[in-house]
């Protein structure tokens, strides 16, 4: 149906699709690259006809093992479905195929004074389909909302091979918000083949500020107070000293090397509001002992400040052989104490942890850097990771803010949800996928609903 050029069962090629950017490893029986929505639907039907589950995959930059093939599935890769189908500048809507890269969409509409607001740090590499799968976030989601707030409609191939359009361009479609259910379902409710996204007008005025601090506590307290004071920044990102220095060495973004923490704060909107909010942020930062507050003088300086933030992971890759990136959310009032706790946990496990994260919405990304070749290190990394997540939950937080549950956090779900809660989620999933054919063994732990036995794959740390 797809032709041999578009599908393979060669072991060497299959191995390339055994995992995503996370640590869990699985095994696919076949991989295919459909070039049209109809081919994608056909691939689902072929897999089902052969009694195989299927896993839809974008760029494989997911960090929770969402695209890791478990249960010997067929992997369906969307990277050839990469067309921007339609841009309606007047209605500010674009229809795209799922394999369109996030940043390519914003680039394609830039000349219209529009952009696609969700901007994950991986936006040069990840697909809009993958973003829909994980309900991806990014720095600018603080004011503008995560992926779900920007997806108006999704055409999906349901796990039985039927095609359905969920949501629509008209507001308040009657009936259940199936679109809302699908976004963030990590490939367990079917595969998106076409997506209608909202485009956002570029703000008339932007102020981007870099605030330096002599301690992580001062920076965190500035974040909490900024939110509490009623300022709603477009973005509010934090980096601690090790990250700041690594980034500075890597791209020379003009970050202060001697700071213990920096905040990258952006406010946007109309001129007077921007001026007022920028002044407020500066006053709060200074009241918390900011050692420097610098506002980007022009677009070039602004771009450089953001380049630093978005290169953080590339910078780490240069200095440590391995890293483990976590993702959890805590209430914004608890940042100071949770960051302190994370530092204590890292010290207790003799590990280096760095922090670069979406501070404005409390979305922590503790990054453990290590050398996995040293015996026993992986055990310590796992133990520290679990302790960090527990600390976040104890502070009233949740397991994941944007990377998803996948297989990584699947078995931690009972820490946040009771049996009845998990049962309800399992029922919702079953309504979409009664046979469990779409991305099996993900998101919900075994036994959420009289479940089948699920093996935890090698390499997961849970």
């Amino acid at each position: 149906m797809l032709g041999t050029a578009n599908a393979t069962a060669e072991p060497l090629e299959l191995a390339l699709y055994a995992r995503d950017a996370g640590v869990a490893e699985g095994h696919a029986v076949a991989v295919c690259w459909p070039a049209t929505g109809a081919q994608l639907a056909a691939a689902v039907r072929v897999a089902r006809a052969h009694g195989r589950p299927f896993v839809v995959r974008g760029s494989g930059t997911g960090l929770a093992g969402g695209a890791t093939p478990l249960g010997d599935p067929v992997v369906i890769v969307t990277t050839r479905l990469d067309r921007i189908l339609e841009v309606d500048a007047r209605s500010r809507v674009a229809w795209v195929e799922p394999g369109v890269l996030n940043l390519d969409l914003s680039r394609a509409v830039r000349h219209l004074g529009l952009h696609y607001a969700p901007d994950p740090s991986s936006q040069q590499a990840c697909t809009i389909g993958g973003n829909v799968g994980t309900n991806a976030g990014g720095p600018h989601c603080l004011a503008y909302g995560v992926t779900s707030a920007h997806v108006l409609a999704v055409e999906v191939v349901l796990p039985d091979g039927e095609v359905a359009l969920l949501g629509g361009l008209a507001p308040d479609e009657p009936g259940y918000d199936l679109r809302g259910c699908f976004v963030g379902s990590e490939g367990t409710m079917g595969a998106a083949t076409r997506i209608a996204v909202r485009l956002t007008p570029d703000p008339p005025e932007v102020a981007t500020m870099l605030c330096a601090f002599a301690s992580v506590e001062d920076a965190a307290a500035t974040v909490s107070e900024t939110i509490a004071s009623g300022v709603l920044p477009a973005a509010l990102e934090m980096m601690d000293a090790p990250i700041t220095r690594a980034v500075e060495d890597f791209v020379g973004a003009g970050y202060p090397r001697d700071a213990q923490a920096v905040l990258l704060v952006e406010v946007d909107g109309l001129p007077a509001g921007v001026a007022e909010q920028a002044a407020q942020v500066e006053a709060i930062a200074r009241a918390h002992g900011a050692t420097a507050v610098r506002t980007a003088a022009d677009e070039a300086e602004r771009a450089l400040l953001w380049k630093g933030r978005k290169s953080a992971f590339g910078a780490i890759a240069r200095i440590a052989p391995d890293y483990y990136l976590h993702d959890a959310v805590v209430p914004r009032t608890r940042l100071v104490e949770v960051l302190g706790e994370i530092a204590r946990i890292a010290a207790a496990h003799r590990l280096l942890v760095m922090n670069v994260f979406h501070a404005g919405d409390g979305n922590l990304h503790p990054l453990i850097v290590f050398d996995g070749r040293e015996p026993g290190t992986w055990q310590r990394v796992r133990a520290a990771g679990t302790a960090i997540l527990e600390a976040c939950l104890d502070a009233g937080g949740v397991l994941t803010g944007e990377h998803g549950v996948g297989v990584e956090k699947r078995d931690l779900m009972p820490r946040l949800f009771g049996p009845d809660d998990l049962d309800a989620q399992a029922r919702l999933r079953d309504a979409f996928d009664p046979d469990g054919a779409a991305n099996p063994m993900k998101v919900l732990p075994r036994g959420s609903r009289c479940g089948e036995l699920q093996r935890v794959p090698e390499g997961t740390w849970i």
């Binding site: 909302g145 308040d172 809302g180 009623g230 209430p331």
Partner: protein, 333 residues
């Protein structure tokens, strides 16, 4: 918040309908008259001003919530037309307010839900933080579900800073690019526009425009709400303008068109126009006997499976949503 009385009331009844303030009771098909009436508890459980979140009983009147938030310089833009509407009722009806253009739809405001299911169990979905992708998105599923998937008992909502100035003006035409209106209403002749923010920005955007007390929406015995893709509003407007006795007002950039009339046939004609432009007309008031939705719901078979998954005995709001297939009494234990 003690949910046990609600749990017991739900568990012991054969069929159940959750009632708020009945301000949007006409939304959806009529519920079977013998369904037992239940009410969610009222009251603000927890407001975390520094985290911009609030947890309330779903029976809390919007006006009460708004007063609590206003005291802290915040708001939660549920924006029901009638402030007596309960939080749970607004969410279950799922109809966003006039400021959707700038503040987004209702469904983006809900962080966590606690719902009572048919056997009296309480199920939690979502989480208390402002960002969260842990598990499936039950909060969004419940927004607009019209009480057919269980009773919303308690919800956690996202708040935002209350604008220092909020002003409605009349204008000859929609505001130009570069402005940031919260709402633009157009009735074919006049524009009513809402600007919010700091005073200097609002003043600059309102320059030369006469201020008005607040928006005026079409009135009449029979009211409806049309939803079309935003780009279809102008062609639709041309059709509506030709209908005798129909008054209408569109939310530009959103695609919602409020219509009102004193004779039902005009509403029926407006519905036909909505269908011709790729949309819907939902009955909001009056129009006795007129079907609530006017067209089969999209993906009705999938919606039916969702309904059966959460309400296997067909206990909640029987009749409200016209879904394919028979009510699945006892379909799943």
């Amino acid at each position: 918040m003690d949910l046990t009385p609600l749990q017991e009331a739900v568990a012991s009844a054969r069929t159940v309908v959750a009632v708020g303030a009945r301000t949007q009771w006409r939304i959806g098909e009529p519920v079977a008259p013998d369904a037992a009436v239940v009410r969610a508890p009222a009251g603000v459980v927890r407001h975390e001003p520094a985290d911009m979140t609030v947890t309330v009983g779903a029976g809390t009147p919007f006006g009460d919530l708004d007063r609590v938030l206003a005291a802290a310089g915040q708001e939660c833009p549920l924006d029901p037309a009638d402030p007596r509407a309960t939080v749970g009722g607004v969410l279950a009806a799922g109809l966003s307010g006039l400021r959707r253009l700038r503040l987004g739809p209702l469904r983006d405001l809900v962080l966590e839900v606690r719902v009572v299911l048919g056997d009296g169990r309480v199920v939690k979905g979502g989480g208390p933080t402002v960002k969260n992708v842990t598990g499936y998105d039950l909060p969004r599923l419940y927004v607009g579900s019209l009480g057919t998937l269980g009773v919303l008992a308690q919800v956690t909502l996202r708040c935002r800073p209350r604008p220092t100035v909020s002003r409605w003006c009349r204008a000859p035409e929609p505001p130009p690019a570069g402005t940031r209106p919260s709402a633009v209403l157009w009735d074919g002749e006049r524009v009513q526009v809402c600007f919010e923010g700091v005073r200097a920005d609002v003043d600059a955007q309102c320059r030369g425009l006469p201020e008005i007390d607040g928006p005026v929406l079409p009135a009449g015995a029979h009211r409806g709400r049309i939803s079309v893709p935003p780009g279809a509003v102008r062609p639709l407007a041309a059709s509506l303008a030709a209908l005798r006795g129909l008054r209408w007002c569109a939310q530009l950039g959103v695609g919602t068109v409020h219509v009102a009339t004193d004779d039902v046939p005009a509403l029926v004609a407006a519905r036909e126009a909505a269908h011709a432009h790729g949309g819907w007309l939902l009955c909001e008031q009056g129009a006795p006997g007129l079907p609530a939705f006017g067209r089969p719901l999209p993906n009705a078979a999938l919606m039916r499976r969702v309904k059966d998954a959460f309400d296997p005995d067909g206990k909640f709001a029987p009749g409200r949503l016209p879904l394919a297939g028979a009510p699945a009494a006892g379909a799943r234990a």
